[in-house]
């Protein structure tokens, strides 16, 4: 994808950048770049795919739409916001990246993310790892039992599931119940210590949403709606997503 030189005619078009600007408040300040490089200095993806946030924005401004809409770098971006946090001009590079992802044909987007998104759509647990609500319940109860038995002082620890009317509805990233179940315990202890009235749910319990990372707006929304409904069905007041 390397280009030797750029030729700009009298009419330059940065169609992609201009389109994104129309969607964002203040155009995401996308024109305001001072090319200071604070974004590139902090970006974990700088240097991957011969790209960094500053260069990416610059290419958009120069109208090199073909290249930025094809670079795999947009999938290296973690959407962490470190760039916009320190940018003196508050330039919304994450949104530019997001819209670049959206322009990819679904079948060409990275397999890992796509599979995780698809998996989340399989059942109502929304887990990108495919763990069902019942699997989740079993892991939680098993870990809880072990803590109560083996850790003095935590004999009365609770991890409620599907408790109707609880104040907080908690999500949990699938990675914990599936690969590191003990990692869930500290959170329970915190909730217990502060005396929070909380619950997990067997529906919509998974916190992650790979459809969002994939820029699949439609399924992103679908997953959010499933989770929101689960919260509403149990009559919880707050929805706490740990992602």
């Amino acid at each position: 994808m390397t280009v030797e030189s750029v030729k700009i005619g009298k009419e330059r078009k940065s169609i992609f950048k201009d389109k994104v600007m129309q969607l964002l408040p203040d155009g995401g300040n996308l024109n305001a770049c001072l090319t200071c490089g604070a974004c590139a200095s902090g970006c974990p993806a700088t240097g991957l795919a011969d790209m960094d946030p500053r260069r990416f924005l610059r290419m958009a401004a120069m109208g090199l739409d073909d290249q930025i809409l094809k670079t795999e770098w947009v999938w290296n971006c973690t959407l962490c916001w470190r760039c916009i946090y320190v940018c003196p001009m508050k330039i919304d590079i994450p949104q530019l990246v997001y819209h670049a992802r959206k322009s990819w044909p679904r079948e060409e987007r990275p397999k890992g993310i796509r599979a995780s998104c698809d998996m989340a759509l399989v059942n109502e647990s929304c887990s990108a790892m495919g763990a069902s609500g019942e699997d989740f319940r079993m892991v939680v109860e098993d870990v809880l039992e072990e803590v109560r038995a083996s850790q003095p002082g935590w004999e009365n620890l609770t991890a409620p599931i599907n408790k109707a009317g609880a104040e907080f509805f908690l999500n949990q990233n699938s990675r914990e119940p599936v690969t590191e179940p003990d990692e869930m315990v500290p959170l329970w202890k915190i909730m217990s210590t502060v005396g929070a009235d909380w619950t997990y749910g067997t529906k919509g319990w998974a916190a992650e949403n790979y459809c969002m990372f994939m820029a699949d707006d439609e399924n992103w929304e679908r997953i959010v709606r499933i989770k929101a409904k689960a919260v509403d069905d149990l009559g919880c007041k707050y929805w706490v997503n740990t992602e």
């Binding site: 030797e4 030189s5 604070a38 200095s41 120069m62 003196p88």
Partner: protein
């Protein structure tokens, strides 16, 4: 210790309520001995050193404080807070402590007000990613100044805060709290940080000896836009200061919380992780916190950043008549502009109050001087104890006894405080009583107190130069506190040396020159016209010379000011006022052909339309302007589509339709500036370019505009224009001098080729027009510098006497400089400098006669005209003339010009024959001191 709380009335007659906060120390009584501070048990952070060290509740701000009077800080004083202590009161030798001191409101009746409340350094605590306040070795630039300063907490031996070790690698991060609308609201550039960072790096290099010092400045654009600033920048590069065009993202603490680690991306995208011993945040300037309150009290308009709102045509005038602004209160600026524009504000005030000049000030009258020509030398010695400041270390009685034994001494006494008003009276009596004709004061330093004693002598009819001081406090008792015997011996030597010198003192006359209350202004551009008008409005007759047949100069060719105000209407009204003013005589097609004389009293000829006339004047202002250079590159002159800024302004005026049709325009900056031939920044082109591109985008929003630049230097609030240009989609592409853009013709099509360092790719752009930011150059000043013996710098710009402290005076007294001939500057700064020149000139013109300092060189009979001294005189105050000696033989001899001479004595040190001396410091006097100093040495 005072602040304004209310104001009423209007220009000519304001009543201002001022609250005087209690100082708790009587300024009349305080002798600045510092005992109160030594004895005060309460330690608090020293705000002068930004809390890097501590002071006591009884304090002075800094060693050279003016007034040098202590104060007690009521917020922290133990007695004032808890009712017990008063340690200072017990030890104060003059009973100056006054805990009864009360807050006081006074009404001041004034005709005008000048506001210069200054600025507040930006507080970077809110920028969590830089770790300021958490990582010990991250400091602000102002803290760093204190660390470097010999008056600061490290006494000038730079160490880093974490482990007090000398740092070997230091990083500066620019634009902290400036040019940032995300983490703060300071969209403007603070104007001074690039330069002070470079200065700090260079000063650090002087502090830290040995190899291996690594200094890096992380920047966005280096804005060295002032006179000789680019040379300074280049010299820093040559001395090894590294400039990195990058912004680190986060600063993290180094190992053991010492030093810092930063990750940054170079311009080519490569990521570097680097450790530094220290990081300095180059913080910006903000309006003071109480600026809103001040604006409310005075009903002033502030702009969006809370700086005072002013017009480019009258940069010192607020919206309220009679209230003027100066300094960083108006916009962020460096010292030279602050000093210049303070004079601008002063002239606005004097003009408003012109009818009352001199009403409330008066000249002191002394009795006529008594001749001592036929008197024997009778010396009186007054030895001061300064409370216990001197007598606590030095045995003053012994010194007094010793003084009585010395030749010519007829009277010796010891005073508790020689400077007090009652001692002065007593001293005057003793002078008369004992017919004293030389006076020795052994006390503090002549630098602060000589004038006071000179006045005492004058009141008794003695010539003021018959007093000599022996500095036995500052340079003896205070610095030898642990060796009282040595100190006493030194004091005796000091008194003996003073007596030896005084015995040879003779009365010296302060030369007076009559001032011709008339000004000559050379140059009829905006600078010259504004100066002339300001002087004329102050009732001084002014002659304005213009080389061409039309007033106005470059201003005809530029459309708007930086703030976007139309220049034509202003220019037309200015010309009209100048041409019709009864105090101004405008001479067109005119130039100076000869000049002689000096401050207050110049004369010479001017050529007007081929004829000669004689004029005499007290001061001259040089405002001969500058011009846009003609580029020699980028196809300029070969293709009509390649134009300069002034060409563009003409097109925007006369033919906007053709520009509107353009689809693509490229601007190239620094054409002929910052290169070998003109190693300076032309200062105005960056702002002019961004202003122009905004205009063009207004004509046709679809137009593609590119600016190829080295550093964008839209200093101060001009940064808003740069931001606006970017927001409109203008692309700014940087280039380095080693990789300049190229303009070429492809058949009929004009193409610009350059390299984008961010894309890391060559770019070629098809364009309709190329606009060149052609360098500004000064008009030729050669003839004038010859005539007036003043100087221009290597770039041809006329030099000021001192770039910081006397930015509109020239090195020759009575000459002033304004406008482009001094250095390229935008219209508002030109107007400010022009009015400042009028202010400075008015200081001279408002006196009927000027008293010159008496310490001047004079020729003796031994001069044989060898002329060795002519070349060493830095002020060109010496010239040769024919001299008829007493024996009838004629030969050359030098003549010194008292008005030009500054008394430095280079001539007397050069002369092999004793042909020229300096009054008060003759060879005999200096030799007498040397001999006296070494009298006891075997």
């Amino acid at each position: 210790m005072s602040e304004v709380v209310d104001v009423s009335g209007e220009v000519g007659n304001f009543v201002v309520k001022v609250k005087k906060n209690p100082r708790y120390i009587d300024m009349e009584k305080c002798i600045a001995c510092g005992l109160c501070a030594q004895k005060c048990p309460r330690k608090v952070d020293d705000e002068f050193n930004l809390g890097l060290n501590q002071r006591t509740s009884a304090y002075i701000k800094y060693g050279q404080s003016v007034p040098l009077k202590y104060a007690i800080d009521g917020e922290t004083c133990i007695y004032l807070k808890r009712g017990k202590c008063k340690a200072c009161e017990k030890f104060c030798p003059t009973s100056a402590i006054n805990f009864e001191d009360q807050e006081e409101i006074v009404d001041l009746n004034v005709g005008a007000v000048i506001l210069s409340p200054g600025f507040k350094p930006f507080d970077p605590s809110g920028f969590d990613f830089y770790g300021y306040g958490k990582i010990p070795d991250v400091v602000t630039s102002l803290e760093y100044e204190r660390l470097l300063s010999s008056g600061g907490p490290c006494m000038g031996h730079l160490v880093r805060p974490s482990d007090h070790r000398e740092p070997k690698s230091i990083a500066w991060i620019q634009c902290v709290g400036s040019r940032n609308t995300n983490r703060c609201e300071n969209g403007y550039c603070s104007s001074v940080c690039c330069m002070y960072a470079i200065k700090e790096a260079l000063v650090t290099a002087e502090h830290i000896a040995g190899e291996g010092l690594k200094q890096s400045i992380f920047y966005m654009d280096i804005r060295s836009h002032g006179k000789d600033f680019d040379r300074f920048y280049e010299s820093a590069k040559a001395k090894g200061v590294r400039f990195v065009k990058a912004r680190p993202h986060t600063i993290e603490a180094g190992q053991d919380n010492c030093g810092v680690t930063m990750r940054y991306a170079q311009e080519d995208g490569q990521v570097m992780i680097e450790h530094f011993d220290m990081a300095v945040l180059s913080i910006g300037l903000e309006p003071t916190t109480d600026v809103k309150q001040l604006a409310d009290i005075f009903k002033l308009d502030l702009n969006q950043y809370r700086f005072a709102k002013t017009s480019d045509f009258s940069p010192a005038c607020s919206n309220r008549p009679g209230v003027y602004v100066a300094g960083a209160f108006q916009t962020p600026k460096a010292i030279p502009r602050a000093v210049t524009e303070a004079s601008t504000a002063a002239v606005e005030a004097t003009t408003a109050l012109i009818r009352s000049r001199g009403e409330l000030t008066q000249q002191k009258i002394y009795p006529s001087e008594r001749s001592i020509a036929n008197e024997e030398v009778r010396i009186g010695v007054f030895i001061c104890s300064c409370g216990i400041n001197i007598s606590g270390i030095i045995n003053v009685d012994e010194v007094a006894r010793y003084a009585r034994s010395l030749p010519h001494v007829v009277h010796v006494e010891n005073n508790l405080f020689s400077c007090s008003a009652d001692t002065q009276e007593m001293m005057a009596k003793k002078i008369v009583e004992h017919s004293l004709n030389r006076i020795i004061i052994a006390a503090c330093t002549p630098r602060t107190h000589e004038a006071l004693f000179q006045e005492t002598l004058q009141e008794t009819g003695l010539n003021p130069y018959l007093v000599e001081m022996a500095n036995i406090r500052n340079q003896n008792a205070w610095v030898h506190q642990r060796e009282p015997e040595m100190a006493t011996a030194k004091a005796k030597d000091q008194v003996r040396m003073a007596i030896a010198k005084a015995a040879l003192s003779v009365p010296i006359e302060r030369t007076k020159v009559n001032v011709i209350p008339k000004a000559l202004v050379i140059g009829g551009g905006v600078a010259g016209m504004q100066t002339a008008l300001s002087l004329a409005d102050q009732n001084f007759e002014t002659v304005l010379l213009e080389k061409s047949d039309r007033l106005g100069g470059n201003a005809w060719k530029v459309n708007t000011t930086d703030q976007g105000e139309a220049i034509r209407p202003y220019l037309e009204s200015l010309i009209k006022r100048v041409e019709t003013h009864s105090n101004i005589q405008v001479l067109k097609n005119a130039s100076v052909t000869s000049a002689k004389g000096s401050v207050g009293n110049f004369s010479g000829t001017v050529q007007v339309n081929g004829g000669q006339r004689e004029i005499a004047y007290g001061v001259a202002v040089l405002a001969i302007g500058g011009r846009e250079s003609r580029p020699e590159e980028y196809l300029f002159g070969q293709d009509p589509r390649v134009i300069t800024h002034l060409d563009l302004d003409a097109m925007l005026r006369d033919d906007p339709a053709s520009l509107k049709k353009a689809q693509s325009i490229v601007f190239i900056q620094c054409v002929g500036s910052r290169d070998e031939r003109r190693p300076y920044c032309s200062r105005i082109c960056c702002t002019h370019s961004v202003k122009a591109v905004i205009h063009l985008k207004g004509l046709n929003p679809k137009m593609n505009v590119y600016v190829l630049y080295r550093d964008i230097r839209t200093y101060g609030e001009r940064e808003d224009l740069y931001r606006k240009a970017r927001d409109l989609g203008v692309l700014f592409i940087s280039y380095g001098p080693e990789r300049k853009p190229a303009v070429s013709l492809d058949g009929k099509d004009l193409t610009v080729k350059t390299y984008d360092p961010i894309l890391r790719m060559p770019i070629s752009i098809a364009v309709d027009h190329v606009v060149l930011a052609a360098a500004m150059e000064a008009n030729d000043s050669h003839e004038l510098t010859e005539l007036y013996k003043c100087a221009a710098n290597a770039d041809g710009f006329l030099n000021e006497a001192h770039p910081k402290l006397r930015p509109v005076d020239m090195s020759v007294d009575g000459l002033f400089v304004a406008g482009l001939c001094n250095y390229p500057k935008p219209l508002n700064e030109t107007i400010a400098q022009a009015k400042a020149a009028a202010a400075r000139a008015a200081v001279i013109l408002s006196q009927t006669e000027m008293t010159l300092d008496a310490i001047k060189s004079f020729v003796t009979d031994k001069c044989d005209g060898c002329a060795l001294c002519l070349d060493v005189c830095p002020y060109r105050a010496i010239k040769l003339e024919n001299y008829q000696a007493a024996n009838g033989q004629g030969h050359f001899r030098i003549a010194t010009d008292k008005a030009l001479c500054k008394g430095c004595g280079l001539c007397s040190a050069t002369c092999p024959k004793g042909g020229v001396y300096v009054h008060g410091f003759t060879m005999d006097q200096l030799r007498a001191q040397v001999v006296a100093a070494l009298e006891d040495v075997a």
